[in-house]
Amino acid sequence: MAAALSPNLTSAVFLVMVAGYLLGAVGSLAAASPAVTRSLTAAGALVGAAAGLGLAGMVLVVGAPFAVTVPELLSPGGGLALRLDALGAFFLLLIGVGALPAALYGVGYTRAYAGRYSLRWLGAMLNLFLLTMSLVVLADNVLTFLLMWEAMSLTSYFLVMTEHDGADTAAAGGWYLAMTHAGLALILTALVMLIPPGPGSTFAELRLTVATLSPTTRSVVFTLAVLGFGSKAGLVPLHVWLPRAHPAAPSHVSALMSGVMVKLGVYGVLRFALDLLGEGPVWWGGLLIALGAASALLGVLYALMEDDLKRLLAYSTVENVGLVFIGVGAGLLFAALDHEASAVLALAAALYHALNHTAFKSLLFLGAGAVLHATGNRNLNELGGLIQRMPWTAACFLVGALAIGGLPPLNGFVSEWLLFQSLLPAIASSAPLVPPLMTLAVGALALTAGLAAASFVKAFGIGFLALPRSAGAAAAHEAPASMRVAMTALAGLCALFGVGAVVIVPRLAEMLRGYDGLTGQPAPLAEGLSLALPGAFGGMSPPLVAMGLVLAVAGVWLAVRLGGDRRLRRGDTWGCGRIGQTARMEYTSTAYAEPLRRVFAELYRPTEDLTVDVHPESRYFVQSIAYRSEILPWFERYLYTPLLRGVDAWAARAQAIQSGSAHRYLAYLVIALLALLAITLARSG
């Protein structure tokens, strides 16, 4: 079957994918009217994403090989080389899962852009973004990888800047561009250190070269890769672009960036750690666990304090990426300690969580976009009452919020369960420092889970329930059909991925075979309808839990319906007999998070500013009170602001070189010339 499929069918599907995206890009640039542009954008992206899914499916399910080289293209660098192995295929699948709904959603969402922003440019960049992301996971040599990575960053930059007249968009774009290029510099260095002497630089050749490198060099490469890819993924402390860029971008682009692009950071780290670099020391895994746990905790803590719905979701992405890296780190750690079964479980849990995050984070961003589209507002303190005005969106958002909160029976719950269970065996390990590290990781994971549930209760509860807090929210309307279909599809996927874990997780475990020296027969991770952990450590059955819950709800409802009183009367909300109720009487998002703000005040260090204006004639008669409180995130206050100030200071000093005097410039030329002569003489002499 695999032989019959390869290579013609896979190549054909690959060509369809590339053609779909390219035609989508060209078509949107050339289209006549905004409606045609939107449709062509979506059509191209849908075809491309579907083909990508198909290709990934063929490689993953059937094992069909796929490799393409075009040495003529960019021959000085080694030409274009593409290969799809199991790891790449999984991430290509992830891209498809995120891209299909986002593309469909864009049809309805971008209607409001006609006349204000360039739909053509948006459509072209969207398709190119998806194409370059797909090519990143297909890349098989250094040049292709770096080229596609940079193209992906640039196209996403343009996408972020779509709404160019937004207040913070320019700053968001600037941060994003700077950080992604800083990451690129690190990745470039890491890759270049692995290039063998000679012309070729395919990944196969890199693997051979790695064997000749010293452990120190490999560790340096690993650290560079972690930092470089971590900045793309949103690992603390390199995550600062995320909460700026994601709210500024159009919502379906935010969904793609959060749901898909940050996973490519994970892909990069996995490609290096599992594939290129081979086995490494224990501290590699430990480093990732530490960074992951820090990201998870800080991400969720800042998400909790956010009132801007999209920034809340962006910080939540930082949190979930942290969780994925905890799993990856645990996997690497176990592999280094030769606990193969645990390593496979941890890595499978991490990948599964990445997949689930794509599903529910995309859903949440699309929902936030629908809210923005309908109310013109992202501020939770000004939303509310949307569950009556946008019932479908509200229901989908609720599914997303329950999923990301890790509540049964949805996918977030299963992947969190797996992450917990993958960390547990390590607490009993005999390697030094591993048990305390793992215990703290487990504590961090649990706290993150609780706080994530709290922040999404806040997001959904304040944003959608009760009375609308502003005119915009009161005037909200339901989202158009294309947006609703996209959100419903993702909501369905959340349920499906959760219940289908018994099928997905063992598949992931098998896929990991062959990487990082994990060659043994993987322990079956599923028995019948249950997930079964290695060593009979525990088990659970997602489909049975789901079924049990559904039956229980139905059973109770039926019993009460048949047995109890059925009268229901509508009345005012109980407010101690007060006359009338307005939206001012409801809890706000800031108020909701206030207890936790106090609990973690040492971390947040909120600044408070209270201004009381009194009447000029008497200081007892207060005219107005203004209260302002702000939380400046930790890393920005202590790392980035000083860093930027330092760079500014040095740049100001360096500016002295640009004196404007022609004499000085001539003097520089002469000095440079003399220095070159001296060096040449010294080298030849």
């Binding site: 009268r567 009367r569 009345g571 005012d572 109980w574 101690c576 007999g577 006359i579």
Partner: protein
């Protein structure tokens, strides 16, 4: 541990409810089905419709160890949505007329109302004041009146049990 030795020494101080003067009058005919439903598990919401708090002090004795309304299944709740019976005091002042009515509307059916104190029945000494809207039965339908200024906790308890058709003791 001093606390527990004191508890053991004090023992149970609840006094049995004796027959007293009849200060309880019916406001209207009570539905036996409702009385049977609420008879053993009654949730009471207390509403102060402008009283001087004399009646409230007596009512607060009801949940104490001596009068112990809980032994009859009567307990006080925090919201009229949870309540079966409204215990109203005070000559209903103008500011409390609408809140009292709203409290009554917020209470689910079947419900009862017991008006406590002379003010609740006849506006007491505040009768005719510009601040008073009228007696309790002009705002909400009252099932039982308990007279007194203020009535003893035992009287209030007898009034509650009369509303439930559990007094006099059978």
């Amino acid at each position: 541990m001093l606390l527990f030795s004191k508890i053991l020494r004090t023992g149970i101080v609840t006094e049995p409810l004796e027959t007293g003067e009849t200060v309880v009058t019916l406001g209207r005919q009570l539905d036996t089905r409702v009385q049977r439903l609420l008879g053993r598990a009654l949730a009471v919401r207390e509403v102060d419709a402008g009283s001087c708090n004399g009646c409230e002090l007596e009512i607060s004795g009801l949940t104490g160890p001596v009068y112990d309304s809980e032994r009859f299944g009567i307990h006080f709740v925090a919201s009229p949505r949870h309540a079966d019976l409204l215990l109203v005091t005070g000559p209903v002042t103008r500011n409390m007329a609408v809140p009292l009515r709203k409290t009554w509307e917020a209470t689910p059916d079947p419900k009862l109302v017991v008006a406590v104190g002379d003010c609740a029945r006849t506006c007491g000494v505040f009768r005719g004041s510009y601040a008073v809207a009228g007696s309790v039965d002009t705002i909400v339908p009252v099932d039982v009146f308990v007279d007194g200024c203020p009535p003893e906790p035992a009287d209030i308890l007898r009034g509650l049990l009369t509303a439930l058709d559990r007094w006099p003791r059978r």
